[in-house]
Symmetry: C2
Subunit: 192 residues, 2 copies
């Protein structure tokens, strides 16, 4: 929204939008914590892969030089109702489509692997102010059948599963899993 | 082995033994890679948790200050025959017992969580030149029923599952899983 003299007025809502990248991750982290505390699922964000170059062990192992590495798996994984679950959180700045360049090639290979071995893999896409669970199988199918380099927003709305924000939980993605993977979960009563 | 004039002769085997800490992890990493390439399991080592304090974004995001964080989960996790698997690799310097101080309190809680939700959790303990799969359920039971602060080597030999080293694979821990968790794996033929 532009005001006279090109002054942009900062509404709180605007600020939130600017930090959307942070917000999505936080809202998912909140949910992971909630699910853990309520014993509904055990899902953690993996640590960011970092290559350590130089460590000062004299002063309590302070890392002095390191760099971020490209992830080859997805950011979150864990177990829900006995099922292996892995997913990634993706902020989408475009309002019309989700660019596939957001996903690395070995992440796509990894999604294939997870699914083939009986796990659940998906993306949580934040686009146009909404949150969607987009199944890994749908992603792979889209890539296989299209030359497009982005998934249209309309398709995300059509075949994705809208996720709801809940004040106590954050983004309630387990509800989305239940909807997207009907019949998931056998919750074996193992002793091991 | 000491030689005249205190000169230590470096045999290759000696070097290997000295670096056992490194070796165990490498041997497990090798196995993970082998299993992945042969499509037997999808199990990765999680990145080391690092708290980043200072990043120089001007020169390509070089981290200038960071520190190692205490892990709250185990080092390796993934999926095998549709089953959630998580474990940690533990080098044991003592030849008589494995000190429980090697495992953080929230890691024990995490093992409980994994098992309760239908996953497999265990330790791979390297002790006295041998490798053992020690089930998470056995670990929890030991802690509950003992005041001892370490697990005797004799008990590890008795109820642990010996893991074999294989030149092509590394430490063949899937074989150990098969033995320790008989009947594991349903490998669902899901499309998702």
């Amino acid at each position: 929204m532009k005001y006279p003299n090109n002054i942009k007025k900062s509404y709180k809502k605007e600020i939130n939008y600017k930090n959307r990248g942070m917000d999505l991750e936080n809202l998912i982290n909140e949910a992971c914590k909630y699910y853990l505390e309520h014993d509904e699922a055990v899902i953690y964000k993996k640590p960011t892969p970092i290559g350590v170059v130089d460590v000062d062990y004299k002063n309590g192992a302070v890392i002095h030089k390191a760099y971020f590495k490209e992830p080859s798996t997805l950011d979150y994984n864990g177990i829900y109702k006995g099922k292996y679950v892995e997913f990634d959180a993706k902020e989408c700045a475009s309002k019309t489509s989700f660019p596939l360049s957001n996903i690395h090639l070995h992440q796509i290979k990894h999604i294939e692997n997870i699914i083939r071995h009986g796990g659940i893999a998906f993306l949580i896409i934040s686009i146009n102010g909404g949150y969607y669970l987009f199944k890994g199988s749908d992603l792979l199918q889209f890539i296989q059948n299209n030359d497009r380099k982005s998934i249209p927003y309309s398709l995300i709305q059509e075949i994705g599963y809208p996720l709801t924000y809940n004040y106590n939980i954050g983004i309630d993605y387990l509800k989305g899993i239940e909807e997207a993977y009907k019949g998931v979960g056998y919750f074996e009563d193992t002793k091991d």
